[in-house]
Subunit: 153 residues, 2 copies
């Protein structure tokens, strides 16, 4: 027997679908038109900028950005062509290749970050009370935990 | 001056990014492997199945599924090739083309729905308390409302 969603649950679920469809599109619009970045490019620049000496192993970067190794590899190729990162090979390290944030990549991130963060505030953080935003974060953590229990793949 | 996210806000925001990245991927996995559907295919089948006489104007379907007209048009072409919907032209109606759910499309939806709804329960609804899920829905509605204020496009 399928335990269908109740009318209230359905309404919350549809709100989730709407928000998760519309918000990334809006955030992407600004990043793309202003800085020629996708949301995933932005996320990669942020992760590398936070790393020691601004580089990370490709495998760790894939884990952190929730990307598959092959998808990340294509993306890093694109970002390297745009001069945002460079891919370096480390012969003394069996864990393989690194992605390194270039000076240009850092400049682009520094230019893009204020608009992006303002958008995140405008459409999310400041669109609700701090308690409501904390509840959103809490619910998202529970989703992630439920997915982690399910699938190690 | 950019009003950067606080550490707590940052944590909630990263949880949102993680959940919105991982959940669609997981829901898609099941729909694709079991029923050869994408998440957007599924959403279109649901909307058409709920419509009177199982058809909708393309423009209305685009609004309801938060899709652009051109993206929806491509998608309906693909779904028509798979026999899930048909696209019909209505000469006495200036509003143009309809998308119609086929009997096969309805069969596919009926077969896919239980697994999909079980997944939504497992990873979302039952992964938290009813209050937490309602808070998630509420926060998502506020995001959608903030986006609607911003952009009529």
């Amino acid at each position: 027997m399928t335990d269908w969603l109740s009318a209230d649950e359905q309404q919350s679920w549809r709100a989730w679908i709407a928000a998760t469809t519309l918000l990334p599109a809006e955030l992407t619009k600004e990043l793309t038109s202003g800085h020629d970045l996708t949301l995933s490019d932005y996320e990669i620049l942020v992760r590398l900028s936070e790393a020691d000496e601004r580089w990370m192993h490709m495998s760790e970067l894939a884990d952190r950005t929730l990307s598959s190794r092959s998808r990340l590899s294509h993306q890093i190729d694109r970002m390297q062509a745009a001069g945002l990162v460079s891919r370096e090979c480390c012969t003394h390290d069996k864990r393989g290749q690194h992605a390194v944030l270039t000076d240009h990549g850092l400049d682009v991130l520094v230019a893009a970050a204020p608009t992006h963060v303002n958008d995140v505030r405008k459409f999310v953080v400041d669109a609700m009370t701090p308690e409501e935003f904390a509840a959103l974060g809490n619910a998202c953590k529970k989703i992630v935990a439920a997915l982690e229990v399910k699938s190690p793949d």
